[in-house]
Amino acid sequence: MLISFYILAALAVGGALSVVLFRSPVYCALSLVATFLCLAGIYVLLNSEFVAAIQVLIYAGAIMVLFLFVIMLLNLRSDKPLRHSWTWPKLLGIGFAVAIIFQLIGIFHSPAARMGPAGKYSTEYLQQKGAVEVVGEVLFTEYVLPFEIISILLMVAVVGAVILAKRREPASTEQTP
């Protein structure tokens, strides 16, 4: 189990690095899909089958298909290769990212970071009741108000996308009877 976690983690990091390093946006999108699928495998290893399913359906399915549609609609050229333009702001950016990684790892491994008491949703409980059933039970009792609010957010996003992506007609055509 630990071995498969390490394999999936290495594949995910490789996919994430190729998102940053590939020149063509289409290759970037496809390696991001590979990263999302590896993360879905890690969610299965962490006993969260529901999260793995929605990760594959929504992220790797819906969102990345939307990205690919937009890339193909815009007919983009590839970027210039990154390594031909090493300027000091880019080196500073890489140093900033590495600093963030080491700071986060330091926080997660510091002795002050302890986890609280364990809840009641143990692996045996989830396997006995069914993981999806437990998620639905919690979502529709304790978290039902955020659930309803987030549906309004989705509707606002749909309306906003339609208005932003709509082609503007000239105002004069609307005036003519």
Binding site: A12, V19, V20, C28, S48, F67, I100, H109, E142
Partner: protein
């Protein structure tokens, strides 16, 4: 049982790679993909804590983060479409209309 600290380390590495992509890349769509990568790294941290603490709160947060990410992707991509229609480029160094 996978140790929680290992998963959190992976989450930190993915988040840092996303930050590096946002800083280094010039293409607006790739910058957007790196933001999605950072959101995924945070999701991985939530799932690791939910599994380690045997709690359901992390899974709920992942659900809401995912919906917010979907809404953000839809609105952001249509903004990118509108910008491309107006200026004909996606290079973020040329979007300097609001620069002081």
């Amino acid at each position: 049982m996978i140790p929680v600290s290992h998963v959190l380390t992976l989450s930190a590495i993915l988040f840092g790679i996303g930050v590096a992509g946002v800083i280094l890349r010039r293409n607006a769509i790739v910058v957007f993909m790196c933001i999605e990568l950072m959101l995924n790294a945070v999701n991985l941290g939530f799932v690791a804590f939910a599994s380690g603490m045997q709690s359901m709160v992390g899974v709920m947060f992942v659900f809401f983060v995912l919906i917010v990410a979907a809404a953000e992707a839809v609105v952001g991509l249509s903004i990118i479409l509108a910008i491309f229609r107006n200026s004909g480029t996606l290079n973020i160094e040329e979007f300097n209309l609001l620069r002081w």
